[in-house]
């Protein structure tokens, strides 16, 4: 799979749009960062707006996932809203579109943390996933501060901004 370098540009009106390029995922992180920086310099030289961010996204092979067909009741505007806290007290949000209604309490809108699938998501944020070699990969906030607790898990409704 590939790494996607996304450059976000802002115009004078404050509107933002992105430009992206894909590269192979075989390079070292430092090499990818250098490429991304130089790619953004090339973009910077041909625009009138301002580059606000440059991110690198690793695209993952998802062929092993088993939910291949959206069910009739699936709706990406029904969002599982999670909010976590880091060791420094920073808040980290994660919105999961298309949350399974069976995991939500109909009366309160709270997501049922007693369900194993939800436990997995929360434990992943708070404690990490064990990958090969016994290594734990642990989510952080944007400043690399560890996530240590959960503040909120509830269903919300949000326009997807996309219609078919």
């Amino acid at each position: 799979m590939a790494i996607e370098i996304i450059t976000e540009v802002e115009d004078r009106a404050g509107k933002r749009a992105t430009s992206s390029v894909f590269i192979l995922d075989t390079f070292l992180r430092a090499q990818v960062e250098l490429f991304a920086l130089q790619w953004s310099q090339i973009i910077d030289d041909i625009i009138l707006g301002v580059i606000r961010s440059v991110t690198a996204i690793l695209h993952v092979d998802i062929s092993a996932l088993t939910n291949n067909t959206p069910t009739a009741s699936s709706d990406v505007e029904e969002v599982g809203a999670f909010e976590f806290v880091t060791t420094d007290g920073n808040r980290v949000k994660c919105n999961v579109p298309g949350i399974n209604e069976l995991l939500v309490n109909n009366d309160t809108g709270q997501i049922d943390t007693g369900q194993t699938a939800i436990s997995n998501l929360i434990s992943m944020f708070e404690d990490g996933i064990s990958v090969t070699g016994g290594i734990l990969i642990h989510p952080t906030d944007i400043g690399s501060d560890d996530i240590v607790g959960t503040l909120l898990a509830e269903e919300r409704f949000r326009n997807s901004g996309r219609r078919r």
Binding site: T113, N120, S130, L136
Partner: protein, 71 residues
């Protein structure tokens, strides 16, 4: 209530062969009314340093929260 749940967790860890148990297993030994508080109890156990937990992929391909005894 959380201390009671944590005691059950500790017992399960002590009784397991490898010092590990899973969230799904804990649900089988705790009444359904307690399931929504298991994570809260596990956080207490983690802060006390008696256990750690993480998510892993099992041999059957499913994801599971594993709780491990800290010795």
């Amino acid at each position: 209530m959380l201390e009671e749940i944590l005691e059950v967790v500790k017992t399960e860890l002590d009784n397991s062969e490898n010092g590990k148990t899973t969230f799904s297993h804990l649900k089988t030994v705790l009444p359904e009314s307690r399931h929504g508080r298991i994570l809260d109890a596990l956080r207490i156990g983690r802060s006390q340093g008696v256990l750690k937990k993480y998510v892993t992929k099992l041999e059957d391909g499913s994801m599971e929260t594993v709780i491990e005894k800290v010795s």
